[in-house]
Amino acid sequence: MSDSTGARAVMWAYLTTGVAIFGLMALIGLALRVEQAQWVAYDPGTFYALMTLHGSGMVVALALSAMGGLWFIMNRERGMDRTIAWSAYAAIVVGVLCVILSIFPGRFAAAWTFLYPLPFTGATWPSWATGAFLFGVALVMLGWTVYCVQLLGCVLAKYGGLRGAVGWDLVFHPGRASTSSAPEPPPQAFAALVTAVDGLFAATGGMLVGVALIVHWIDPSVAIDPLWAKNLTYQFGHTFANLTIYMAIAFVYVALPRYANRKWHTSPVLAIAWWGTLLFVATAYFHHLYMDFVQPRGFQYLGQVASYLAAFPPAVVTIFGGALLIYRSKMRWTMGSMFLYAGLVGWLIGGIGALIDATVPINFSLHNTLWVPAHFHTYLLEGVTLFVLGWIFANLEARSGLVSSLLTRWIVGLGIFGGGALLLLGWYVAGAESVPRRYAVQPVPGPAIAAWASIGAMLLIAGLVFCLAEAVRLARAPKALTAS
């Protein structure tokens, strides 16, 4: 198997597994929303078990997809050991299976947050299910850690250590940078560096709280501080989920310029922007604890500051840069480029919703209402998912030499963007109406809004199905002569 074929095998394994899990989780999501619309009825135990699976599964699905594409991109910069990538993949897949088992048949229903002491106290599921879930998440984290270590090693070795990888000389010593033997990192290498460093940072918190909870599961006499556990849970969870966006941005950096027939350069501005992301993504997680008044006051201020500042690099450099890249360009609009560009839009809109909630006095009346799922679904569904789809189509189009018809793009677009907008609006409006999140039975006007949202979800899924069919069509087409 040639190097390139082997690398593609890794990428497609990650991508197709991620997409498969995504599809299953999307159906589960629909099941949750229609229950809230009161179109179907099932007991809260089942609802919350499904909700737990949906949350954990979706983030892992998107992470897997983004990881695969980013690995392939960075492998082209510096060849990486495939067995390490496969072992990370294996650890994650086995972890996902453990999580699924904990829920079917275990009926574990503590939500992905497993907020101590909940997995243990008042559990309506057997103890083995708790263990299986914790162990599953630990395995996923192990795979993630291995992946991040490999990615870190790649950028350090290729670009001349940390100094080269962060583009230090590029910003402060341009003369030295141009004469250095180490190559200049392309934009996607910055995405890889930040993913690796902040990813390991997230893994640190996750590993620690994971070990503590597993130890407590084995021996309940081991005390755990609930505030400490909450901090670590969100440090790991927020950062990990947030990084899916920054991994997927590499797809935009690589593929969008090809569609626009332009170049996306590394520049001092780009380097500085990623330094900002490196710092602010790691410190923003405190915004999950605004309503824990016992938190040290400094952390609350830091949370709002970091959350606000985290918006600058995307808004000023990446999204603006993407818009500038295609402005008055000879842009080829295909399914791939449509998704990549739309993802930038979704990211920006989700960011506005997030910044609003990251403002403490507003959070006071929005925290744990449906505004929270509103903003993160915007990021994940109309951001990361679109970047992943864009990358998949960019590859399939290049390989087959074919593109999708305008009609197909309209149908898919109406479903994914139109249906998606309806689904998301449902959450924003319900959140503003103070409907709480994670309610199997919602107070008025939750159910009425959920009905509209469910229609949106169905349109969205229909669009995704069309999209899948189109992807299969392109994949089955013979390889084009011009494809690499």
């Binding site: 016992v294 606000y308 295609i326 008055r328 006095p361 709480p436």
Partner: protein, 170 residues
């Protein structure tokens, strides 16, 4: 901040983003311009955009800081009321005085809960987490008299949605 205002602001901003990004996408049907020309103007625009964002962020921060709900030590001298959350009920005072500085001392007997106060118009006006082994102090002044509903705002188990309480403000 009033939720309706927040929602309206968000929708306006989202619409603006959609319009601008769509307009930029449409420029690809116009004659092509070399990248170097585009970036020359674009980078100047970017600097302006940065300053606009920075000013907005600074303003948002300055305006929000006095409204942080944590209270200063002086505000914690109001009348104290205990709130104890358990799976799946709240132990609450039945009446609290209107237009008076009060402090809810909130804790939990078992898992994390959320003490969410809904006013007589069924709007969430205040909340704080209920964490075992800790007491969260929520300083408040409730002006509107009437019946207030309390909902649990932190997932606490399968009966989370049924966990309700209430008190009157007189």
């Amino acid at each position: 901040m009033h939720q309706t205002t927040v929602l309206a602001g968000f929708l306006v901003a989202a619409a603006a983003v959609l319009i601008v990004m769509a307009a930029i996408a449409r420029t690809t049907t116009q004659p092509e311009e070399p990248q170097s020309i585009v970036t020359a103007t674009g980078y100047r625009l970017r600097r302006g955009w940065l300053w606009v964002l920075a000013a907005a962020a600074a303003a948002a921060f300055a305006l929000s800081l006095p409204e942080f709900p944590y209270g200063k030590p002086a505000t914690l001298t109001g009348q104290h009321y205990s709130v104890i959350a358990t799976q799946y009920s709240f132990e609450l005072p039945s009446v609290v005085p209107a237009d008076t500085p009060i402090v809810f001392d909130v804790t939990s007997k078992d898992v994390n809960h959320g003490f969410g106060i809904y006013d007589p118009q069924d709007r969430l006006i205040a909340q704080v987490q209920a964490m075992p082994q800790y007491i969260n102090h929520l300083p408040l002044r409730l002006y509107a008299k009437g019946h207030y509903v309390v909902r649990c705002l932190e997932y606490c188990g399968i009966a989370h949605a049924a966990m309700l309480g209430s008190f009157d403000v007189r």
